[in-house]
């Protein structure tokens, strides 16, 4: 007799509710349960001590600063007392509103350039040039009623953002040029560029910035020399471009050769083929890597503090350098870490979202 399966035996597949799923992932097996209990205790201990230190036992107001150092908590009074120094550096006190608006304008530029609507070869550079000009005009002043504030007085977060934006702005076109030179049909140029990119990539950024600060004054005639800040930014941009060029090159290589040949055989001029056919696709294909590179660049702006610029790392450390708040070094470093975290985490989440979106096939 053959087994007859009656319809009633077709049970529905087991439905895992959320509760069951969570239960299973914590206590699914004996070893899992043991791990959850032991490790869970550790995690709870860490979280409760961090929460106690950061929030519950913390001293928040400058008025209560005498309590600092006696309790077990953080002393956030230092931030309330010194946030202007950390964010604006030595920028004149009365003019600091300009610095905040300038930072907001630049932040807005960064956010807008993340919107797919602005992704075109013509819109993006215009957007960035506009945002950057607004930033520099506000920071520098010297027109209308705004007093002139030279770059020597810039500092804190605005200097960090300035360095990041100018490195990006100079580095991006440079990277396109590097990438095109690297795959040029002239062997001398392609090989030479290849060696140059490899050399730059194998040197530490700090060494390159340091060389720009001390070597260029020796090697370059006086009339060509600019301020130390400009030299360091250009060197940083070259470093960025060497990495970004390899990303763009990978994007160009991922396109089929037929595209370029088809465009050329239609009689399109070389620059049009590059700007209208190849570059948009190469950029789109490598967007996640490009954002990753931007994230790395933002973090690495902190290195210029070593060369003696007063960006946010340096201004934070200046607060610790005073006798008054010297003991609050952990609070300052945690605060600086949070500031970087907000920018970097936001950007990298955005990159991850884009990658997911492209994998689905919308790209």
């Amino acid at each position: 007799m053959t087994d007859v399966v009656t319809p009633s035996e077709h049970l529905p597949p087991p439905q895992n509710t959320w509760g069951e799923w969570i239960w299973k992932s914590f206590f699914g097996s004996v070893s899992n349960t043991l791990f959850t209990l032991a490790f869970g205790a550790f995690v709870v201990w860490v979280l409760s001590s961090v929460a106690g230190w950061m929030v519950l036992d913390a001293v928040w107001r400058v008025e209560d600063r005498d309590l600092c150092g006696h309790g077990a908590g953080a002393c956030w009074a230092v931030i309330e007392d010194r946030w202007r120094l950390i964010f604006f550096g030595l920028y004149p006190y009365e003019e600091q509103w300009r610095s905040s608006i300038a930072c907001l304008a630049l932040a807005l530029t960064i956010v807008l350039s993340c919107v797919p609507k602005f992704w075109s070869v013509r819109r993006l550079p215009v957007l960035w040039l506009a945002g950057f000009s607004v930033f520099v005009a506000l920071m520098r002043g010297g027109f209308a009623e705004l007093t002139l504030v030279t770059t020597e007085q810039w500092g804190g977060l605005s200097l960090t953002l300035f360095i990041f934006a100018s490195v990006f702005l100079i580095g991006m076109p440079l990277a396109v040029v590097f990438a095109l030179a690297r795959r040029s049909s002239f062997p001398v140029i392609a090989k030479g560029m290849g060696v140059f990119i490899d050399v730059v990539r194998s040197l530490p950024l700090l060494a390159i910035l340091f060389s720009a600060a001390v070597v260029i004054p020796i090697l370059v005639p006086d009339w060509l020399q600019s301020s130390k800040l400009a030299r360091v930014i250009v060197a940083f941009a070259v470093f960025f471009a060497a990495y970004q060029a390899e990303i763009i090159r990978a994007g160009l290589q991922s396109l089929s050769e037929g595209q370029e040949e088809a465009a050329l055989s239609l009689g399109m001029p070389y620059w049009s083929v590059i700007l209208d056919i190849l570059m948009p696709q190469a950029f789109r294909n490598t967007l996640p890597s490009t954002i990753n590179q931007a994230v790395i660049t933002f973090k690495e702006t902190s290195i210029v503090t070593v060369i003696g610029f007063f960006e946010i790392m340096a201004s934070g450390r200046a607060v610790i350098g005073t006798d008054e708040w010297g003991a609050q070094f952990v609070e300052i470093y945690v605060f600086l870490g949070l500031v970087y975290f907000v920018f970097v985490f936001g950007l990298s989440r955005y990159g991850a979202w884009l990658e997911k979106r492209m994998r689905v096939g919308h790209g």
Partner: protein, 378 residues
């Protein structure tokens, strides 16, 4: 003539020739200006200064240096410091990264969340900030008199960690290091040399015997086998002291690097085709065997290129030692520039040093990659 001008080959040669000419002109002008500026400053150019003694001490050095050491010795010491801290960073970042990667792919939600939190926190804060933070924490430990101790043999104070250490001369250390390298080599080439498990065990045994013999015989008479640190006045005597500059750099870079290395390893593990894992399971392999025989070998191949990039990045990041006063290669170069004024020569040495270092690291990783590559595919 016009045909000659239109010829692609001639055009291409002319353009390339033009580029080379411009390049040479720029270099020539740099050299010319540089030579004039150096002459104006009255500094003798050339590498003769390498034989002069420096007149300043190194705070930390693997090999012994004094203020009378020559520039070449001090620079070598700096390079060795970089290699030591960089090498240890790679080791620690890899071990920690491996733990993070396995946590992030585990079945346990708690482990996954912790792994993710670790990666997001340590990856999204600049390395320099982390290095400076750990250095500040280490230098705010109690003074030697109130140092934290582990069983009165190891001490943690603001002067660094003081640990008991076997008494070894420099020669002993070199012998042991060579022996250890030979042991590693034997394991790396185990398959080519057709070593059996017993031969491998024998190799380990031989190394242990060598270590014990060197340890027992190499020391000067009347010195103890193990030097235990003791508090004497305001500082510790005996043992081996690991200064806070070294530890700050090592901890900061290891934690930062582990977040990246962990992600690379996780990516490699996830890149292994599930079909291959299921095939292993249907052949009756145990989960451990699937991991050991299928998943890890395949994942390792997939992650090697990214891993070697990350290793090179970490090696370069040791230059952050300058910020906290660790005498790494870059810090030594920087001090030398201040003291001797031989800027161009020292910058050239700096670049040359890092080019060689990273080229060696890249070549080594490439060689491993080539050896492991699945044969028959490109």
């Amino acid at each position: 003539m016009s045909a000659l001008l239109r010829s692609k080959r001639i055009q291409s040669m002319a353009i390339q020739g033009g580029f080379v000419a411009i390049f040479v002109a720029i270099i020539a002008s740099l050299v010319f200006t540089g030579a004039r500026n150096i002459e104006a400053q009255g500094i003798a150019s050339g590498f003769g200064f390498l034989e002069r003694s420096t007149g300043w001490p190194l705070a930390f050095s693997v090999i012994e240096t004094t203020p009378r050491s020559t520039y070449s010795e001090v620079l070598l010491a700096g390079l060795l410091n970089t290699l030591l801290v960089g090498g240890l960073t790679l080791v620690f970042a890899t071990i920690l990264g491996l733990c993070i990667a396995f946590m992030r792919i585990s079945n346990n939600l708690l482990a996954r969340l912790t792994g993710t939190a670790y990666v997001e926190i340590f990856r999204n804060v600049p390395a320099i900030l982390q290095v400076v933070f750990w250095y500040a924490v280490l230098t705010h430990l109690p003074r030697p008199r109130g140092a934290y101790s582990v069983g009165e043999v190891a001490f943690f104070s603001n002067r660094g960690f003081v640990l008991p250490a076997p008494v070894l001369s420099g020669l002993d250390a070199i012998i042991l290091a060579l022996g250890f390298l030979a042991l590693i080599g034997a394991f790396v080439f185990a398959s080519r040399l057709q070593l059996t498990a017993r031969a491998k065990l024998g190799a380990i045994g031989a190394f242990v015997v060598l270590a014990v013999v060197v340890w027992l015989t190499g020391r000067a008479p009347d010195t103890p086998l193990i030097s235990v640190p003791e508090l004497a006045g305001l500082r510790f005597v005996g043992g081996v002291t690991i200064p806070p500059e070294f530890l700050g750099l090592l901890i900061g870079l290891s934690f930062f690097g582990a977040a990246y290395v962990g992600e690379i390893i996780r990516g490699g593990l996830l890149s292994v085709d599930t079909g291959k894992l299921e095939a292993g399971a249907s052949l009756g392999l145990s989960p451990w065997q699937i991991n050991r025989l299928i998943r890890i070998p395949l994942a390792f191949r997939a992650m090697l290129p990214a891993l070697s990039n990350q290793y090179i990045w970490l090696m370069k990041a040791t230059t952050l030692g300058l910020v906290i006063g660790f005498s790494d290669f870059f810090a030594v170069i920087s001090t030398s520039i201040n003291q001797s004024g031989q800027t161009l020569e020292l910058i050239a040495l700096l670049m040359g040093g890092f080019l060689i270092l990273n080229y060696a690291l890249g070549t080594g990783m490439n060689a491993i990659n080539q050896r492991l590559k699945i044969k028959g595919r490109s």
